[in-house]
């Protein structure tokens, strides 16, 4: 039972990482670095709260989070793909923008710069009687958990087994070749970024729904960790999901060990250290998409 409860906690923690990291694999396979995940997630979380607050319907919150995620990602795409500006700077700027904007909106709507009113969370879906399982039941019946599982499976197939996936990867590997074949490099790159925005928006909705409210800076760096997980997972949905589970386990362990005298800060560093080792090539070689981070300028190609 203890083990199952621990597994449930780890699974629960890894949900937002998985959604955002899966999205990042789409953006980055298309050649666009998405450090804006953090800000997209934050905007998604606030949008969920606003949608649920104004309509009383959590699904309106999810729709709002999706819309906010896609809109924020569209800004990133406009700056990086269409204006061809630096992707990392754009991402960091968007994160700062989201941090400021969400607080600004909080002050206007809830008259507090730190937290919102309480809103309704997402209801359970007791499909296949999964809810009857001990300990894991409450996690497996959360709608966004199922969405995440399906999205990871579908995402892997989509990216590596469909024409769209092949083309998306081609604009990240060799945009000139893709353009020669008549593909719209900008179009596919934008699509990758927008998919990533939708998924990171959902990750924000999950956080807000779990907490039943929005608090200032509630993503707490999860967007960056999701990006790191995607890298550890070698730019694949399956790999990213596995890395997110690993990070979820580390974080659950940290919470379990709190109060036992074991320095939880050291465990807190674990995912970051693992990622640094992975990046240095100690855990197999991770090869990024060849043209990741490089704007594509047809005039100069």
């Amino acid at each position: 039972m203890e083990v199952l409860l621990f597994a449930a906690a780890a699974l629960r923690i890894s949900v937002p990482y998985t959604l955002a990291a899966l999205g990042a694999s789409f953006s980055e396979r298309g050649g666009v670095i998405n450090i804006a995940l953090e800000g997209i997630m934050l905007n998604g979380a606030l949008a969920y709260v606003l949608g649920a607050y104004w309509t009383g319907n959590p699904w309106a919150g999810v729709a709002a989070a999706l819309a906010a995620g896609v809109a924020t990602a569209a800004l990133h795409a406009a700056i990086t793909v269409w204006l061809r500006a630096d992707q990392i700077t754009s991402g960091l700027g968007i994160n700062l923008l989201a941090a400021g904007l969400t607080k600004f909106v909080l002050t206007q709507v809830f008259h507090s710069s730190s937290n919102s009113s309480r809103v309704i969370g997402l209801p359970d879906w007791n499909l296949f009687h999964l809810g009857d399982l001990p300990a894991l039941g409450p996690v497996l019946t959360a709608p966004l958990v199922m969405v995440a599982v399906v999205a990871v499976l579908a995402g892997q197939g989509f990216l590596f087994r469909t024409v769209f996936g092949l083309r998306l990867r081609s604009v990240g590997e060799h945009p000139e070749a893709a353009a020669t074949l008549g593909l719209s490099v900008a179009g596919y790159r934008t699509a990758g970024v927008l998919i990533s925005g939708a998924l990171a928006g959902l990750a924000g909705a999950w956080l807000a729904s779990e907490q039943h409210s929005f608090t200032d800076g509630m993503t707490g760096g999860r967007g960056y960790i999701a990006l790191a997980a995607m890298i550890v997972g070698k730019w694949t949905p399956f790999g990213a999901a596995a890395a997110c589970l690993l990070f979820g386990i580390a974080e659950a362990l940290q919470i379990t060990l709190q109060g036992t005298g074991f320095p939880s800060e050291l465990l807190q560093m674990l995912p970051y250290l693992v990622t640094m080792f992975a990046l240095a090539g100690f855990i197999g070689r991770a090869t990024p998409p060849r043209r990741l981070g490089v704007p594509y300028d047809p005039e100069r190609a």
Binding site: A85, D86, T89, L96, L97, G100, E265, Y272, L279, G281
Partner: protein, 347 residues
């Protein structure tokens, strides 16, 4: 006007266009919440530059940004994106405070340089790690510096248990020998503002970095690596060595920046003291076009914006300033692309 001059002017004007557009965007926000944009901007201006106290506050807010902006600019010049400035600043402030209160009895002639050096050394070490990982293993410095930020926060929280004052999140006071004097001692009109000699150190750092970048062999190599690493390698420059040096120097400047708060203001280290100054340094470097003079001017602008936002908090939420800062970043990189394309068409 010659084409060449037109091009130069156009590109040089890009940051100004970006700032102007950002202020317009801010005005839309201010109007949207039912306030008068001109009134609010006027209030911010008079509160920051209209009084000695306001000027002092602006200088105080600008000081850490000079350090972090210089740190980011140094990295950029070598083609490296140091997002770890926040962590380097944080760790630098922490280590400086440790030395400052650990040897509190020492006279200023020893303690002051020792404390400053300790902060710089801690930052240099934290900056050198991603430099080595990049040079040795080809690991991208952006991700590593982000990760090292988180590790720095966790590390300081962990080490803090054993050094913080009971039931607080701050260290003991550093010895008086490590204090940096307030500027109002020399200019009484700044009275009450926390501006201190760290500003002078920041300006000196800008001057030194300017000389190093543009008048020394190291600076030449650094810029060569930033412009075209394979060409620099072919020209006999050890790219890896330059990358590690650049990241260590960048981290040192960032770590030194902690002195504004730790040695000039509070005289202790406190959890969360860096408060985003490191990230804002990226905006400062961008707007200042990675030139030491530009960085100082951009830092003053962002400092004025920070304090102006606080001063106008009665009428507009201070979060507006954060939104404005972000808009400046996004517009700066956007406008730069548009302007450079226009300039290319001219030529």
């Amino acid at each position: 006007m010659s084409r060449r001059l037109q091009q130069t002017l156009l590109v040089a004007a890009a940051p100004l266009i970006a700032v102007a557009l950002a202020l317009v965007a801010g005005a839309v926000f201010i109007a949207a919440i039912g306030e008068d944009p001109f009134g609010v901007y006027g209030l911010m201006l008079s509160q920051t530059f209209g009084t000695g106290y306001g000027i002092g506050q602006t200088l105080f807010k600008a000081t850490p940004l000079i350090f972090t902006g210089l740190a980011v600019a140094l990295g950029f010049r070598a083609g490296l994106f140091n997002i770890g400035v926040e962590g380097q600043l944080y760790l630098g402030g922490f280590v400086a405070a440790l030395v400052g209160f650990g040897w509190a009895e020492l006279p200023p002639i020893h303690l002051l340089p020792l404390t400053l050096l300790a902060g710089a050394a801690a930052g240099a070490l934290w900056g050198a790690i991603p430099g080595v990982l990049k040079a040795r293993f080809g690991a991208h410095e952006v991700i590593n510096t982000i990760l090292l930020n988180f590790i720095a926060f966790a590390l300081v929280s962990y080490l803090g248990y054993s050094v913080f004052e009971p039931a607080t999140v701050r260290t003991s006071e550093i010895g008086p020998g490590a204090h940096l004097a307030r500027l109002d001692i020399f200019w009484p009109s700044l009275r009450g503002s926390p501006a201190n000699l760290a500003l002078g150190l920041g300006l000196a750092a800008a001057a030194v970095i300017g000389v190093v970048l543009f008048r020394t062999r190291l600076g030449y190599e650094l810029r060569a690596v930033g412009l075209n690493a394979p060409a620099a390698e072919y020209g006999g420059v050890s790219v890896g060595r330059v990358q590690v040096t650049a990241m260590a120097l960048s981290g040192a400047v960032a770590g030194l920046g902690g002195c504004n708060y730790v040695q000039g203001y509070k005289h202790f280290f406190e959890l969360g003291f860096s408060a985003g100054s490191g990230f804002l340094g990226i905006a400062v470097a961008l707007l200042g076009r990675n030139h030491p003079v530009g960085v100082v001017i951009a830092a003053l602008f962002f400092g004025a914006l920070s304090y102006g936002g606080l001063a106008a908090n009665q009428r507009v939420p201070k979060e507006l300033v954060e939104v404005l800062q972000a808009i400046v970043i996004l517009l700066t990189i956007g406008v730069q692309q548009v302007v450079e394309r226009a300039a290319r068409r001219l030529g």
